[in-house]
């Protein structure tokens, strides 16, 4: 049994302009100790998916349906009390912007201790001891004095370390990292990712890594979820996804992956805009931008179906197996040629 099992998750926001279909029919699983990479353009519903399963979307404005089973227990629509026991204790979460994600008027120590005290019946001293310990673990220098600093006294990278420390202080089984490095500079990004890998080895938690960066996915993930327009459009083990992506959007993503060994002139951008979730296009949401779209793509939403590799690799596309194989071979050749000429 998977640790986290999400089935047919839907999130719809009621807004003044109409209903925003932010997440539609999303299903996936996370196994203990594994890393799931989640990629997709801005607005594809990555954050909302995970905020929904944590019970962090405002239910007054959002309609949520589907099922989220954590360790066998249904948590979607669970009571506030039940969720509070899971959040921060068994599932930790960190966010994109470390500059705004810590309370500016509370000391770092207070915020870390709070995380301990909310879930454990321990003394303040013990909570503080644990806080210092975890700060050391995320490699904050002089942890025992810096614990009395305020967030504004930390740099962005340091704050993200504090966020990670706060998410891990209760040894959760899952860490959901929502673009943890997007707001940081490249060197700091690498440090944070290395730190997360190290912590995963030590703590053995599962990680959900939400990111725009396919390079990060390739490096860290076991499985990958590609999202587009609020839906999962392809899911696969990481090697399968990179060696044999099965649908045009993923091809586009791989084509736009900046790599040092490919001259940037050959980088392919996906033309067009991400779809509106307020008025999504009929049929396949990617059809307005897809070079291979035909009539059926405009009329019918492709099912998430298994490809040649088996159930582990699923995707949404109306193109026949032969056509997809042919197009991907041609694409690979052109990318490969670019690689060759750069070498």
């Amino acid at each position: 049994m998977a640790l986290l099992e999400v089935t047919d998750l839907n999130t719809r926001f009621r807004t003044d302009d109409g209903i925003v279909k932010a997440v539609s029919g999303v299903s996936f699983t996370v196994e203990s100790g594994e890393t799931l990479g989640v990629v997709g353009e801005s607005g594809s519903g990555k954050s909302v998916t995970f905020l929904t399963l944590m019970g962090l979307v405002d239910r007054r404005h959002a309609e949520v349906s589907g099922s989220v089973r954590f360790d066998g227990q249904e948590i979607l629509g669970a009571s506030g009390k039940q969720l509070q026991k899971i959040r921060g204790r068994r599932i930790g979460m960190i966010f994109q912007d470390p500059m705004t994600s810590l309370n500016p008027v509370k000391k770092i120590g207070w915020q870390l201790e709070e995380a301990v005290l909310l879930h454990n019946d321990v003394t303040h001293d013990e909570a503080r001891r644990r806080a210092i310990e975890i700060l050391k673990e995320v490699e904050i220098p002089k942890a025992d004095t810096r614990i009395d600093d305020y967030p504004h006294q930390f740099s962005g990278g340091m704050r993200q370390r504090v966020m990670i420390a706060m998410a891990l202080i209760n040894n959760p089984e899952v860490l959901i990292a929502d673009e943890p490095t997007t707001a940081l500079d490249v060197t700091t990004q690498a440090q944070i990712l290395r730190l997360m890998t190290k912590l995963q080895e030590e703590h053995g938690m599962a990680i959900v890594m939400i990111t725009h960066d396919l390079g990060v996915v390739a490096e860290l993930s076991d499985d990958v979820l590609v999202m587009y327009g609020g839906r999962v459009v392809e899911q696969a083990e990481v090697d399968d996804l990179f060696t044999k992506p099965e649908m045009p959007y993923t091809w586009g993503l791989l084509g736009s992956l900046p790599r040092l060994d490919i001259t940037s002139a050959r980088l392919e951008q996906i033309p067009g805009q991400p779809p509106s979730l307020l008025h999504p296009p009929s049929g396949c949401a990617f059809n307005p931008r897809c070079a291979y779209a035909f009539d059926r793509c405009h009329e019918e939403l492709p099912e998430l179906r298994a490809g040649a590799v088996g159930e582990g690799h699923r995707f949404r596309c109306h193109l026949s197996d032969d056509e997809r194989a042919r197009i991907w071979e041609a694409k690979k050749a052109s990318l490969g040629a670019a690689e060759g000429s750069a070498a």
């Binding site: 905020l51 962090l56 921060g88 966010f95 309370n103 500016p104 008027v105 305020y150 504004h152």
Partner: protein, 323 residues
């Protein structure tokens, strides 16, 4: 923190002297040598006028007069003597400031007591029945002129229902003797003036508190707190309130000044002899020392209020302490 406070303190002192200086210049450049016009209500001969002028140091240049004024204020804590009746301005100010201070501070406490719970509750349940009812209250409060409101309150509760007194001030300290003294009578007599002020400002503050809370609720660190597993109540009390207090504190500092400028209307309606009434009659009689005394008093109150706001800010927000 200490350095910040010291800087704010010197800034306050500097402001005070600037304010008194400007006041002084304005009033003493207006040609109204009281010795010449009227001496205590009687017409006087030129000789007497000169005598009076020299007695009050009115025959020396303005900058020297200012210097004498400052010197007396610092050295003797004296603000001079009323042209009208020769009473010590300091004594007059002490009497009036008690009245005005009671109205303003009591009103501020009352409006905060009303607006905090109402603002917090309506922010917790936006668009609920309670929230909508509170918004009606806010609109009525903001729309009603204080004078009109004061008169209505006096008529309704004081005159028609006879629940409250409609005029006069009672001393807070019971040592003054008589039936009209002591905290109970003091508060009893001030209820209507307080309500008059509180109604308008409670309305404004409910709106501000609701808005800042709703804004704070969408901050990233609030999401962090919830992701940690903090219960909803704790999120509001421990994470949101303090952050939303900052704009409220700023407003409070400014509004105390605003209220002091407008306290006259309430004093008039409820016949309370405070600074407002005092300055009004002093203007009619060109009683410059009293006018300056009132201005010094109010300036001091505003500066002290702002200093307290600065301190409160530093206490509430660690980022300010670095400035």
């Amino acid at each position: 923190m200490i350095r910040y406070l010291i800087r704010r303190f010197f800034w306050a002192v500097w402001l005070f002297f600037m304010a008194t200086f400007i006041t002084y210049v304005i009033f003493f450049l207006i040609p109204s040598s009281p010795g010449r016009i009227t001496g205590f209500g009687f017409s006087v001969s030129p000789v007497q006028a000169a005598q009076i002028n020299s007695q009050w140091h009115l025959d020396v240049p303005a900058y020297q007069q200012y210097w004498i004024f400052v010197w007396n204020m610092i050295r003797h804590q004296s603000l001079g003597y009323s042209f009208q009746n020769g009473a010590s301005v300091r004594w007059i100010m002490a009497q009036d400031a008690r009245v005005t201070g009671s109205i303003v501070l009591g009103g501020a406490v009352l409006w905060l007591l009303i607006s905090f719970p109402v603002g917090v509750l309506s922010a917790l349940r936006p668009r609920s029945l309670f929230d909508r009812a509170a918004m009606v209250f806010v609109l009525v409060g903001i729309a009603s002129p204080p004078v009109w409101l004061g008169l209505i309150l006096a008529y309704l509760f004081g005159f028609k229902l006879g629940w409250t007194p409609i005029a006069d001030y009672c001393n807070f300290a019971s040592s003054a003797g008589g039936e009209c003294s002591g905290p109970v009578h003091w508060a009893y007599h001030l209820i209507l003036p307080w309500l008059t002020f509180a109604f308008l400002f409670a309305a404004l503050y409910v709106r501000i508190i609701r808005a800042t809370l709703l804004e704070t609720a969408s901050e990233d660190y609030i999401r962090t707190a919830r992701a940690k597993g903090a219960p909803a109540r704790r999120v509001v009390v421990r994470h949101m309130l303090r952050n939303s207090l900052l704009p409220v504190v700023t407003m409070l500092g400014m509004d105390i000044a605003y209220v002091l400028g407008n306290v006259l209307f309430v004093e008039r309606v409820f016949n309370l002899h405070g600074l407002g009434i005092e300055v009004l009659s002093a203007v009619h009689t060109s009683d410059v020392p009293v006018i300056i005394g009132v201005i010094v008093c109010i300036t001091l109150a505003v500066i002290v209020a702002n200093f307290i706001v600065d301190v409160a800010y530093a206490v509430l927000d660690p980022r300010v302490r670095l400035l």
